[in-house]
Assembly symmetry: C2
Homo-oligomer: 232 residues x 2
Amino acid sequence: MNKNICPGNVCAECGFRSSVFSKLSDEQLDQLTANKTFNFARKGETIAKQDSPIKGFIFLRVGLAKLTRVNPDGREQIIGIATPNDFVGLLSIFSSKSYQYNIIAIEDCEYCCVDYNLVMNLISTNGDFAKTLLEKISQVSDLMMGTRLDLELRQLRGRVAFIICYFANEVYKSPKFNLPISRREIAELIDMRVENVVRILSEFRRDNIIRIEGTTIEIVDPDKLRWIKMHG
Amino acid sequence: MNKNICPGNVCAECGFRSSVFSKLSDEQLDQLTANKTFNFARKGETIAKQDSPIKGFIFLRVGLAKLTRVNPDGREQIIGIATPNDFVGLLSIFSSKSYQYNIIAIEDCEYCCVDYNLVMNLISTNGDFAKTLLEKISQVSDLMMGTRLDLELRQLRGRVAFIICYFANEVYKSPKFNLPISRREIAELIDMRVENVVRILSEFRRDNIIRIEGTTIEIVDPDKLRWIKMHG
DNA sequence: AATCAATCCTGTTATATATCAATATATATA
DNA sequence: TATATATATTGATATATAACAGGATTGATT
């Protein structure tokens, strides 16, 4: 990892500032900025490794990353996708000395890593900052939990529809997008088998619900897709 | 709900004190104690209702409660069991003005409800308290998430074994216990159908893995049960 | 261009789970 | 006590999903 100058705007204007750190004084923010590293991760590279010690708070500036874990059977499970301006791994940072999940870039990423001890000190001295952090953690946790619970009681078609809508609405905010993960990874994300992911995608294409061109997916019939997401 | 004198030990000696509020000064704790209500809930009664406004922090002193939610399809899902000394609903209390889940007693319960605004003020003024809270939230969230993720990739036999082990090891700390929930509720908890819960329990009994007498369950062959939990 | 490996895709078959039906048992209510 | 109502149970059947097999396509490497 390289400690570099952040190539983007200064922190005060970055998503970095606007979200979790908004309650810090200018002085405290300067202190933080001085104690962070700026990093790149190419697609496929690991940003953090499950069970390895937590070095700091990871703020994803640009790109997408997957959060994965290897379950006891050795099967790999993707538990979520991190998008720009996310604090990744926030969930477990207060309950463990090591990361509970792998964080792996699925697009080229830029991220900042903020010193762990410094943040901990700020929490102790700045209660409003702590409150913001509590809110953020709570949101992230709620969202993830809600997503998993939603997925659990859908069957395969519903799950595939769900994930297509997720990328279109939440990640790319466009009905046409470049699917950043393989069929295998979709399967790992929504707990199904690769063959069935493929099959159902083909089925959706056959029924003119989506269009597939190489790695690009376009939603053609959003109503029907939404219906399947809810009732499939 | 009645505002009563707590019949147990004073807060300073209660689980209440020992966990999340350990970093408070005596003065702050007194303040908190003065602003809490003590309540009973009989088996089946609702302690908090999904989508209703959050009144305060709920601390479960005695008894068991289930956390449920009604998903968009109207199907009821149990997302977890709260045990004594749990802060229930902690997960969403910072991200929402209303409860994300129902909290329903499955045994007679005693619980305290601590004033919301007071806790919020304490967070702002006492950073170490905030940190403790962050840790607690993080733990709860991790545990719940981990449980759901574990359950997701098990099949039915594995899930049933999981839930029996859960009650024996985590809740009652004994191989013989009184199952506090119905077959239907087990089904809602581990995402399966009542008939299959019954069927698999009978199967386990037939195979001399458990003994069932009325509402009592006893684990007879813990090794085999653990094996099924892991590989079933 | 040739080779290899990974991913993608489709059909067939096996297995797990849900659904339906019918009865028994317990629990609440009048 | 009698009657209704929810829960528990078991069997038969339908459906959804996984597993297996074989081929097509893509991408990287030599």
